[in-house]
């Protein structure tokens, strides 16, 4: 009643954005380069942060050029860091808006949005006697969280990266090796070629007895799953898959109206509002020319093209589109 139509929190956020009870945010306190295209971002999470387990990931909402974009990154800090900070380690991917921003441009002091940590790529409560980590590229990040969190008596890692200087956390890994805490095989794919999982036994003879955590590109994980199940030890393998590939925008495509459960074909020129109405879906609308914002609807999957500017919008959580001026750019899912 005191602050209607706003909430008291809208005012408190001005003073203390990280307080308990606020929407979960984090302040970036430092960015440390790891390799030419990867960096570790140190984040002080707000009071509402419930902590994480090694191997889990967190979704972060970062404003890039004024637009809030959400991405998931593995946490690389141990679960109980004394200073309460957490780290994510980000590899800049070509044309990756968020990853390039975090690796190359973001300034300490920037506020970002956070979700609670999640994911079941974690260590079991009782630590296994023998462990194998099979990783490639930035697939090492969740595993680094585990290595920093728990010491194992017998841990082996097979890690793939194009060249030695592309190996994220290389110095730290080699320190672990020197201290006798890890046995490491680096596969440098630029010179050695890609790892043939079927021949993993050459590198790690007792691989089948080990509790294995694997993280990396789809090809590697598919091969690993096949290999483990062929040898009847599928239950020993834990995998973490990265976000499925980038949407390729085309013209037109199959449009699913998921709330109504209807799917129709649409060309690349017909507004989705018309497509929906034609299919008998109840679509909110107003001006039908892009000015009233009476037709905004969540885009759950796929991509759409703005018929006025040609701009492509890809589905992401929380993305709303104006159906009267958007057409299908490939298959998409509209929540109506």
């Amino acid at each position: 009643m005191v602050t209607t139509p706003l909430l008291p929190s809208d005012y408190l956020d001005l003073i203390s954005p990280l307080r308990a009870g606020a929407d979960l945010r984090g302040r970036i306190e430092a960015v440390h380069p790891e390799t030419g295209d990867a960096a570790t971002v140190v984040i002080r999470p707000g009071r509402g942060w419930r902590g994480h387990r090694a191997g889990q990931y967190v979704r972060v909402g970062v404003d890039v050029d004024g637009v809030r974009l959400w991405r998931a990154y593995s946490l690389t800090s141990p679960a109980d860091r004394r200073d309460g900070r957490v780290t994510i380690t980000v590899k800049a991917i070509p044309d990756g808006k968020v990853s390039n921003h975090l690796v190359r441009r973001v300034k300490p002091g920037t506020m970002i949005r956070l979700d609670q940590a999640t994911g079941d790529f974690v260590l079991p409560p009782v630590k296994p006697a023998k462990v194998l980590y099979l990783t490639a590229g930035s697939g090492i990040t969740p595993v680094m969280g585990m290595l920093r969190d728990t010491g194992f008596d017998d841990a082996v890692m097979v890690h793939c990266a194009p060249r030695p200087h592309d190996v994220i956390f290389r110095r730290e890994l080699h320190r672990l090796v020197a201290d006798g805490k890890l046995r490491l095989t680096e596969v440098h794919t630029a010179t050695d070629g890609v790892l043939d999982v079927a021949r993993l036994g050459d590198l790690v003879p007792d691989w089948a007895e080990r509790e294995t955590w694997a993280c990396g590109p789809t090809g590697l994980l598919d091969a690993a799953e096949e290999h483990w199940s062929r040898h009847g030890v599928a239950e020993r393998l834990h995998t973490e898959r990265f976000r499925p590939g980038v949407v390729v925008a085309g013209t037109g495509g199959e449009v699913t109206f998921s709330a109504t459960g209807r799917t129709v074909c649409a060309d690349g020129a017909t507004p989705l509002l018309d497509v929906g109405e034609e299919a008998g879906v109840l679509m909110p609308s107003g001006c039908r020319m892009g000015i009233c914002f009476g037709c905004v609807t969540p885009l759950k999957a796929g991509a759409v093209r703005d018929l006025r500017t040609g701009e492509i919008t890809e589905a992401e959580p929380g993305v709303l589109i104006q159906t009267c001026v958007s057409a299908a750019a490939g298959p998409c899912d509209i929540e109506r």
Partner: protein, 375 residues
């Protein structure tokens, strides 16, 4: 009446070319939207909230007259900022591209008795689509006034200067009633319509909350300053109402602004739509502070051409739009606030009387109101 079409010299091709040029301006601004713009709206929102907090804080001591004056002035400005530069523009979707659910047309609620959702329908959808079309755009006179010579005069119009003044003082309630289409919905049958009743209940809830906050909770918090605080909030609301009413009247009422017949928009092309927005709106000239306090509705012409472009960009867009007005030899109606307000009020008074005859020599004793006839 004599219909002089101020766009008669344009060919159909020219009108479409004009539309393409305006589209190009729009595309450029959209492509250039970014961090600076986002920082701008965040800064304005945070400044507004701080100003409101401080002003309400000062009003706790409003028993002391200087505190009353400062608090009331601060609160008035805060309320104007909330409604104009922030609320109006966010509800237009101008900041939706930021994908910040807190600064979004679908979630924003403003310090106003009309619920955002209802206002968006009557304003964004009806007014902005049917700008200045008689019988379709009820913003023309809010259904309570005669605003064009073409509308038939009735003795009841004699009172319209008074209605207009009362409406200005309690403008937010006027808007709420208007968004509800109260006039036409009060008939016995319509009153029972469940949809109308739901909307009326929503307005009731919003009014209750607003009144409770401004006239009960805050005065009570002020303890001994109960009455001065109550008077201060009332004053701030009236100041905000008169201010926004004045600014809004300047948008489509001043002399030189065209109104259109219903049939003139049938089959309207993109270019013709743009042209109607250009001829149906008027600007307020002035300082940056003036533009800010009007929520950049001083750039009404640009706002009507591009209602969803971020408000902080209208000033730069205006330069280019004005050049197009010159290129196509069209009249860009603009003037300082006092002049435009005066012009709008003069029209309210003039049209409260029946149309005057033109002089014997055939010269009208005033600028003739023009009408755009569909090509």
């Amino acid at each position: 009446m004599t219909a002089i079409d101020p766009t008669a010299h344009l060919t159909a091709e020219q009108i479409e070319e004009l539309g393409r040029e305006l589209d190009a301006i729009r595309d450029e601004v959209i492509a250039g939207r970014g961090e600076k713009d986002a920082a701008y709206i965040r800064k304005v929102i945070s400044a507004q909230r701080k100003l409101e907090l401080v002003s309400r804080g000062v009003l706790l001591f409003s028993l002391f007259p200087p505190a009353w004056v400062i608090g009331t002035a601060g609160l008035s400005v805060a309320k104007i900022m909330d409604n104009m530069e922030i609320g109006h523009n966010i509800l237009h979707g101008q900041w939706d591209w930021m994908r910040d659910p807190k600064i979004h047309s679908t979630t924003w609620e403003w310090d106003h008795v009309s619920p955002a959702a209802q206002w968006k329908h009557s304003h964004n959808e009806l007014h902005h689509t049917y700008t200045n079309v008689l019988g379709k755009d009820n913003d023309l006179g809010y259904g309570i006034m005669r605003v064009d010579e073409d509308q038939r005069w009735h003795p009841v119009h004699l009172g319209q200067p008074l209605w207009n003044f009362v409406n200005a003082c309690f403008f937010e309630y006027g808007i709420a009633a208007y968004d509800l289409e109260l006039g036409k919905n009060l008939s016995k049958q319509r009153r029972k319509d469940p949809e109308f009743r739901a909307r009326a209940r929503a307005v009731g809830r919003k009014i209750r909350k607003q009144v409770l906050k401004d006239y009960v909770v805050h005065p009570l918090l002020s303890g001994p300053s109960f009455l001065p605080t109550l008077a201060a909030t009332f004053t701030a609301n009236v100041v905000r109402n008169i201010w926004s009413h004045s600014v809004i009247m300047c948008g489509h009422f001043p002399e030189g602004v065209q109104v259109f017949e219903r049939r003139s928009i049938e089959g309207e092309t993109r270019g013709q739509w743009y042209l109607r927005q250009m001829m149906g709106s008027a600007n307020i000239s002035g300082s940056r502070a003036m533009h800010f306090m009007t929520g950049n509705l001083s750039h009404q012409i640009e706002h009507h051409l591009f209602p969803d472009l971020p408000s902080n960009r209208y000033a730069e867009v205006a330069v280019r739009v004005r050049a197009l007005f010159e290129k196509y030899e069209l009249e860009y109606v603009s003037g300082p606030l006092p002049k435009q307000v005066f012009s709008a009020w003069r029209k309210v008074f003039r049209l409260s009387l029946p149309n005057r005859r033109t002089g014997a020599a055939g010269t009208p004793d005033r600028e003739p109101e023009r009408e755009l006839v569909a090509a």
